[in-house]
C-alpha cells in the first residue's frame, strides 16, 4: 500500500501553484476560464521576476475581484475605463509593466472608445481580453460579442442583428491600428491551447520592454453558467460556434 508521503515528493511534482497567486479561494464558477488565465498571468509574472514591477488594472465584470487572486499591486477601474487608467499609470511610470484584464462588455461595449484610443496611441501596455460572448457577472445578458442566434437574458430568443446589431470583431479592428504591435486570439480549453495562450501572454508582457505599442491577447472563453451548459458541453459549444466566428491565431505580430 502506497502512503501519501511516498507520493508527495519533489520528483513527482507535476504542478505547483505560482507564488504570485494568493491563497484566496476564487469566486469563479467551476469550468470558468478566468482561473486558468489568472494562473497563467501569475506564472508569467513569477517567471519574468516582475512581481515588484507590475501593476494590474482590473475591470468591472466577473474579474472585478482579480486583485484578490494575483499578488501584485492593482488598480480597480470603472466599467470600460481600464485602458484609460493604464494609460495614466504607464505614462507616469513607464518603467513599470502595466496590464489591463477586461471582459467583452468592458472592452468592446462600454469601453470601446478607451480601448480604441489607447491602442491607437500605441500605449505600451498589455491588454488581456476575455471574450465569452456574455455578461457573466450581471447574470447572462447580451454582450457585444454575443453570436447571432445565441441566447442571452436580454435576447431570450437569440441575438437578431435587425434588433441587436452584429457581434463585433473588436480584435480584428484593433489589429488595423498602427498603434498595436501584437494582436492574437487564443483559448484555454485544452492543455495545448493553455500552453499557447501562456506563450502569447508572455510575449505580450515582454513586448513592453521593446516599447513598440499595445499588445492584445484575446482569450475566447466559455461562461458555462451564463451559457447554461456543463463545463464540458460549454467547451464543445465554444469550439463548434465561437471558433468559426472568432478564429484562433495571431492577427498581428510585429
Amino acid at each position: 500500500m502506497i502512503d501519501i508521503k511516498d507520493i508527495v515528493k519533489p520528483e513527482n511534482l507535476v504542478f505547483k501553484k505560482s507564488r504570485v497567486l494568493t491563497d484566496n479561494p476564487m469566486h469563479y464558477c467551476p469550468g470558468c476560464s478566468h482561473g486558468v488565465v489568472h494562473n497563467l498571468i501569475a506564472e508569467i509574472i513569477e517567471e519574468m521576476d516582475i512581481q515588484d514591477n507590475v501593476i494590474g488594472v482590473a475591470p468591472v465584470g466577473c474579474s472585478v475581484l482579480a486583485y484578490n487572486y494575483i499578488d501584485i499591486d492593482w488598480h480597480e477601474a470603472a466599467h470600460g475605463r481600464a485602458p484609460a487608467l493604464a494609460t495614466g499609470i504607464k505614462r507616469l511610470m513607464p518603467e513599470k509593466f502595466v496590464f489591463t484584464y477586461q471582459g467583452d462588455g468592458d472592452l468592446a461595449a462600454i469601453g470601446t472608445a478607451e480601448t480604441i484610443h489607447a491602442c491607437n496611441r500605441g500605449e505600451n501596455i498589455t491588454i488581456v481580453f476575455i471574450n465569452n460572448g456574455i455578461y457573466g457577472m450581471t447574470g447572462g445578458q447580451m454582450a457585444p460579442t454575443t453570436l447571432e442566434g445565441m441566447v442571452a437574458s436580454t435576447c431570450p430568443s437569440g441575438r437578431e442583428h435587425a434588433r441587436d446589431g452584429y457581434p463585433i470583431k473588436i480584435t480584428e479592428l484593433l489589429a488595423q491600428l498602427p498603434g498595436t504591435c501584437y494582436v492574437t486570439r487564443q483559448a484555454v480549453h485544452t492543455a495545448g491551447s493553455v500552453r499557447k495562450t501562456k506563450k502569447a501572454l508572455r510575449k505580450a508582457f515582454e513586448n513592453q520592454t521593446r516599447n513598440r505599442g499595445t499588445s492584445i491577447v484575446e482569450v475566447v472563453s466559455t461562461c458555462n453558467s451564463g451559457w447554461k451548459m456543463s463545463p464540458v458541453k460549454a467547451n464543445d459549444w465554444m469550439v463548434e460556434n465561437m471558433f468559426p466566428f472568432y478564429p484562433l491565431g495571431d492577427l498581428k505580430d510585429e
Partner: protein, 360 residues
C-alpha cells in the same frame, strides 16, 4: 524671487502646475479653458520638469487617466469646463471613493446642456453637493483672481494629499479668460520615486516583498464594509469642515448688511460695496474661498450684527441655500444673480441690495 507676469487665468494655472512640480496633466479641449492644455503643450514641460501632458479622447478618458495616475501617488491634474466636468462625474466619484488625491479645474460656463461658452457659476451644486453618485465630497476652492488661479494649484494639491481626497478649483470663464498681473514662485522639483513611496505608502507602485499588495479600489461588496468606508469618509469630511474653512472679509467690521459672493461675483460685489458705502450704506463682503468646506459658522456669526444678507452668484441661486443654512432663519437672505453667461454690473448688485434687502 517671485517672477511677475501678465497672463490669462488659464495660462497662469498651466504655468503654476509646471512650477509646482505636477507630474501629469490629462485633458480634453473645451471652451473657455482650452488655453490650459495649449499652454502646457507649448511650454513642453516633459523636457524640463518631466511633467507628462496628454490630450485624451474625451473627458471620460482624461478623468480615468487621472484616476490611474493618482493611484501611482503622483501629482496629477485635469481641467475642463461644465459639460466636460459632467462627463467626468463617474470618474470623480470613483476617485473620491478610492480616496485618491488629484486636482480638477472647472472653468465654468453657462448651462444647462451645451449652454453657452460665456462665464457662469452654475456648477456650484455639482461641485459642492456631489455631482457623481454616492456620499462623497470634493474639496472646492474658488479663485477670484488670476493670482489665486496660481496660488490655489499648490493649495489644492496640498489639501488633496493631506486628506487623500480629490480637490476642485471652481473657476469660471471670467477668471479663466481675463489677463492680470500675476506673481509666480520658483520652480519646485517633482517628487522623487523614494519621496512618493515614503509620502504615499498606499500607492500602487509595484509590490515589493516587504509589504502587502496595494489595491486602489472603491469596491466594497459587503454592505457592512461599504458602510465602514462611508463612515470613514464622513469622518474625513467632518475634519475638513472643522479645519480647512477659508474665507475673506471686506469692510465687515461695522457692516449692517452683508454680501456673500465667491469667485468673479466677489470681485464685482467688492465694487458694489464701495458704491453702497459712498451712499452711506454700511455693507460688507464675505467671500468664501473654500466652498467645501463652506464657512457656515463664520457666516452664522454675523446674524447678531447684520440686518440682511444678499448672495450674489452667476446662477439661479445655489450658494444661497448654504448661506440660509448658515444663518438658520435668523436673518433675511436673498439671492441676486444673472444666468446663462450674463454678468452683473456692480451697480446692478448695489441696486439689488437696496431693493431686495434694505427696502424689501
Amino acid at each position: 524671487m517671485r517672477e511677475l507676469k501678465l497672463m490669462k487665468g488659464n495660462e497662469a494655472i498651466a504655468e503654476a502646475a509646471i512650477r509646482y512640480g505636477v507630474d501629469g496633466y490629462f485633458g480634453y479641449p473645451i471652451t473657455p479653458q482650452s488655453e490650459v492644455m495649449e499652454t502646457l503643450m507649448a511650454m513642453r514641460p516633459w523636457e524640463t520638469t518631466g511633467m507628462v501632458v496628454l490630450q485624451a479622447e474625451s473627458e471620460v478618458a482624461s478623468i480615468n487617466m487621472l484616476y490611474g495616475g493618482a493611484g501611482s501617488g503622483k501629482r496629477v491634474m485635469t481641467s475642463s469646463s461644465s459639460p466636460g466636468i459632467s462627463l467626468m462625474q463617474e470618474g470623480i466619484s470613483y476617485i473620491a471613493g478610492a480616496e485618491l488625491p488629484c486636482v480638477i479645474v472647472n472653468v465654468v460656463r453657462g448651462g444647462p446642456g451645451l449652454g453657452t461658452i460665456q462665464p457662469s457659476q452654475s456648477d456650484y451644486f455639482q461641485a459642492v453637493k456631489g455631482g457623481g453618485h454616492g456620499d462623497y465630497k470634493l474639496i472646492v476652492l474658488a479663485p477670484s483672481s488670476v493670482q489665486e488661479m496660481v496660488d490655489f494649484v499648490g493649495l489644492a494639491f496640498d489639501l488633496a494629499f493631506k486628506y487623500r481626497n480629490p480637490a476642485m478649483i471652481l473657476s469660471d470663464g471670467v477668471i479663466g479668460q481675463m489677463m492680470e498681473k500675476v506673481e509666480f514662485d520658483e520652480y519646485k522639483p517633482r517628487w522623487t520615486r523614494e519621496e512618493i513611496i515614503a509620502k504615499n505608502p498606499w500607492a500602487a507602485t509595484g509590490k515589493p516583498p516587504t509589504r502587502e499588495r496595494n489595491i486602489i479600489t472603491s469596491l466594497h461588496l459587503q454592505a457592512v464594509d461599504q458602510e465602514k468606508q462611508n463612515i470613514k469618509l464622513q469622518a474625513k469630511y467632518k475634519e475638513i469642515q472643522e479645519k480647512e474653512v477659508r474665507y475673506e472679509t471686506y469692510l465687515c467690521d461695522d457692516a449692517e448688511y452683508l454680501i456673500v459672493a465667491f469667485g468673479s461675483s466677489a470681485r464685482i460685489s467688492k465694487k458694489s460695496v464701495e458704491i453702497a458705502r459712498e451712499k452711506g450704506i454700511k455693507v460688507g463682503l464675505l467671500r468664501p474661498i473654500t466652498l467645501f468646506p463652506f464657512p457656515y459658522k463664520e457666516i452664522g456669526a454675523y446674524t447678531d450684527q447684520v440686518k440682511g444678507i444678499l448672495t450674489v452668484e452667476m446662477n439661479a441661486g445655489q450658494m444661497v441655500e448654504d448661506v440660509r443654512l448658515a444663518v438658520e432663519g435668523k436673518v433675511k437672505v436673498e439671492h441676486y444673480g444673472r444666468m446663462g453667461g450674463m454678468i452683473s454690473s456692480p451697480d446692478e448688485v448695489e441696486n439689488a441690495l437696496e431693493e431686495l434687502i434694505i427696502g424689501g
